[in-house]
Point group: C2
Chain length 404, copies 2
Amino acid sequence: MTISWVPVPPESHFPIANLPYGVASRRSGPSGQERHIAPPRPVVRIGDHVLPLSVTGNGLFDAATLNPFLAAGPDTWDAVRARLIELLTDKAHRPWVEPLLIPVAEVITHLPFEVADYVDFYASEHHAANVGRLFRPDTEPLLPNWKHLPVGYHGRAGTVVVSCTDIVRPCGQRNTPDGPVYGASRRLDIEAEVGFVVGMPSALGSRVSTRDFADHVFGAVLVNDWSARDVQAWEYVPLGPFLGKSFATSISPWVVPLAALADARVAGPAQDPPVLDYLREDEPWGLDLDMEVRWNGHPVSRPPFRAMYWSAAQQLAHLTVNGASLRTGDLFASGTVSGPAKDQRGSFLELTWDGAEPVTLPDGTSRTFLEDGDDVSITATAPGLGGSRIGFGEVTGRILPARP
Amino acid sequence: MTISWVPVPPESHFPIANLPYGVASRRSGPSGQERHIAPPRPVVRIGDHVLPLSVTGNGLFDAATLNPFLAAGPDTWDAVRARLIELLTDKAHRPWVEPLLIPVAEVITHLPFEVADYVDFYASEHHAANVGRLFRPDTEPLLPNWKHLPVGYHGRAGTVVVSCTDIVRPCGQRNTPDGPVYGASRRLDIEAEVGFVVGMPSALGSRVSTRDFADHVFGAVLVNDWSARDVQAWEYVPLGPFLGKSFATSISPWVVPLAALADARVAGPAQDPPVLDYLREDEPWGLDLDMEVRWNGHPVSRPPFRAMYWSAAQQLAHLTVNGASLRTGDLFASGTVSGPAKDQRGSFLELTWDGAEPVTLPDGTSRTFLEDGDDVSITATAPGLGGSRIGFGEVTGRILPARP
């Protein structure tokens, strides 16, 4: 990997090896300079700057979302990335490109793509087993189907929001010893996840094998699948989570292309019993991401994505094995990422063991579930190309009180 | 209701009292006449004809779907309906409007709107109790939450297809005494449902009360929620149905506006225990629809929609009580419509009591679940305005063999 002429701070998540895509508009502010991008337009991020993708001259970026670019497919993804690397490394381009760079502090990031269908999986063995131990203490922690297929369900695409969107504490029904009551959720939680973004659609009735994963999936984002545990516990039989999840799902603003994650690929845990043929991988699509969860700025967990039992390629093969079609903008998330250690758990349900083991924050207060005013940020870094280190930025959100 | 100058056959589902909306394109065929609408464009149906909605001069119909019209809201919905009634009843308009009519036999109908999020409820007590008796014979048929909230889940919006789309038998995992195997579903079923189409969006964090139902919901369609019972049975714990449903969901091509269903409103069954405040209705939104399910043309069931325990207005209030936003094109379906009698059951799972009581068809063959080549049509009629009878047309589909 060559060096960019754009200065990149040493610890930045966004060196030239990354080049993630997003959508941004110029923040109206004191700087008052004339360069601007408005309305929201696709950009690429490098270091502490964004560069409008109109720099490529490609009409796919004359849009308010990345969807047209995502739909264009792998050859276009490769060509655009190659052109951006050329523009940002060859000093011959510096004179005309540099004036187009905008400090990231001067932009607002928007939802980078229009979400078509949103699916959430349940792919961490440690998470599924923790949930089993908490809620079904007298039985095997894993349900019988768990090691045979990547369990998943559809979530609400219309309430996927971009990082920094405030999260209003949801109201709903929860059960009590005196029967169900209506009110604000008292057990508001997070789920630290990684989401994968479909670029190339597939036809109804066809399947996408694990081998064809990268022909359809463009890249990855961080996901916080906010969860109202009391609402969820009462509603979820027999059809699964609904209002306990559908009030909001936050994603990070930067879509890291699979091309930037080539050196992060690792084999996941051995799968025993062996999986059915359609779930086999020739080359593993595990990813060596180090995640971190910060509660009011304080790191409380470091989930290891490499420990996930099911890979994203297996999830996509499963999702389409019944002939379900893919659309550009489909988002499928991993489910809570939890590792084997206590400080690797990706939900507060697990981290506080259903509230029995509160977390103490540096200000001396303790937490079980989220309180109004709390914020949570999830970050991740990964091995980048050529020995570099890249990152996903963060997905963050703050809890506002329930509305009366 | 006045009389249209367009001839309408006596038993038609589509008298002037109905005027449902759809999207159609001219079928290329032997007639070879010059009047045509291509590409697909919004139309209204009357009797055995469709009329392109460009006749209204409204730019909202210069689109391939009804979404811009749906998004325009109740005042526009009312104004367009009033104008269509005027055009189709006042003979002064006949000379210029009549040449624009196209026989329905000469058009292809398309998906009438782009589906945003798809939610499926479970609102028939008879259906939920039948399923409980079949799968949990030693316990109460209804789960503890069922009479307190309308249980629902998100389905796959991207695989909602219009009536007449062939359904390829899905493949997937099912469990056997020797462990899970991969293959074509052997227990392919239907669910006869009614779906409601959201026109006006709502803001994230706000709620839509039962009172405001008709400000947001434009109309209704018939839904066949095809279900692979063997796939579903193995996958659905603990996160609900996924691949057992996501391969296809068929809807009827004609969206019947709520305005045409005003005289079909009835109170549903008494709700005991009383529901929480946010689920109460000032005026009931039950609908007196007579549905019919035909298996290879033979009527096998007549589900009464008026028997549904939860109304669509209650479902919408529940769906948004946590602040989840609505988008134009959201579709939420009732769940299987089953009445108390055996010949009122809206799924073959119930109708054949999980295969134990096969249905005999007039050709002498018997059925438990769907065989390749079978077709299923669901129809419904309702009291229309002014003592008329209106209908939904049909949602139909044929089973093609699984792909190797």
